[in-house]
């Protein structure tokens, strides 16, 4: 079901999205696979170099987060023909994010990184949504208009 307030759809829903690819996220090599798959999907649909790079970078950030903070996960890429949005959903089964507003602030980090990944990913995507629950993991959905 699309989220009525924010318009972020569910790319794992086959009735609304054309499945592009799903990738298991376990190692840093999988992050490369995910960002390359997204870049290919955008370029093949005629997206510009700048839009491709911006969104593939956002995907790289959230895919790495799923591995570093979430202990691994999976990313699903789907395309909505009606709205021409490429959407991704990245899921992990980690401990969740305790305070999302704090996690979005540039400079906040729990793992010794730069603390710019999550806020940066939101700025680089046209649509962005995080759903997280303590102990149950985190799901990030992001989209870009092609």
């Amino acid at each position: 079901m699309p989220c009525p307030s924010c318009g972020v759809g569910d790319p794992t829903d086959p009735s609304a999205y054309v499945a592009v690819q799903s990738i298991s996220l376990q190692t840093s090599r999988d992050v490369v696979m995910a960002r390359q798959a997204v870049a290919r999907a955008l370029k093949s649909r005629g997206a510009s170099a700048i839009r491709t790079t911006r969104f593939a970078t956002a995907v790289s950030e959230i895919a790495r987060n799923a591995i570093v903070h979430g202990g691994g996960g999976e990313i699903t890429i789907g395309f909505d023909l009606a709205s021409a949005y490429l959407m991704v959903e990245c899921r992990d089964k980690g401990r969740g994010i305790a305070d999302i507003p704090q996690a979005m602030v540039d400079g906040f980090t729990t793992a010794g990184g730069l603390g710019r990944g999550l806020g940066g990913a939101k700025r680089l995507a046209d649509r962005f949504e995080i759903i997280t629950e303590a102990g149950k993991g985190t799901r990030v959905r992001m989209g870009v208009k092609v």
């Binding site: 840093s28 960002r35 170099a49 700048i50 790079t53 970078t57 790289s60 730069l114 940066g120």
Partner: protein, 117 residues
């Protein structure tokens, strides 16, 4: 480490072309290898060719910034060459300005700067 990044000694600089499919693990290995080579070969500079990179995210950006810091402590300058416009736009949006690195439009330009320096 795979063949992702061969390090070449050109004049008084170490030249590295980073490949588009570089992973986090591989770029950390590259940072270690480059740090060793800077000290061993007593070079004036490091030139990182990132023209193959379609994305530079916060992890790779941080490694590049750290490498530049390490180089400076070892008395070498780091030049980043071949940055794509889309990558520059994205880095600024991420708030990464790579202040420790010097940028050059081409390898030739970087080497001529190093010769003069």
């Amino acid at each position: 480490m795979s063949g992702i990044a061969a390090i070449h000694l050109v004049e008084n600089a170490l030249l590295v072309s980073i490949q588009d499919d570089v992973s986090d693990v591989e770029i950390i290995d590259l940072q270690d290898a480059l740090s060793r080579r800077i000290a061993e070969e007593n070079v004036r500079g490091v030139v990182l060719d990132i023209s193959a990179l379609e994305i530079v995210d916060t992890f790779v950006g941080r490694v590049i910034a750290q490498l530049a810091g390490i180089s400076r402590l070892l008395d070498a300058e780091t030049y980043v060459v071949g940055m794509r416009p889309a990558v520059a736009v994205t880095l600024v949006e991420l708030g990464l300005y790579l202040p420790e690195t010097r940028t050059a439009l081409s390898l030739t330009h970087a080497l001529s700067q190093l010769r003069r320096g």
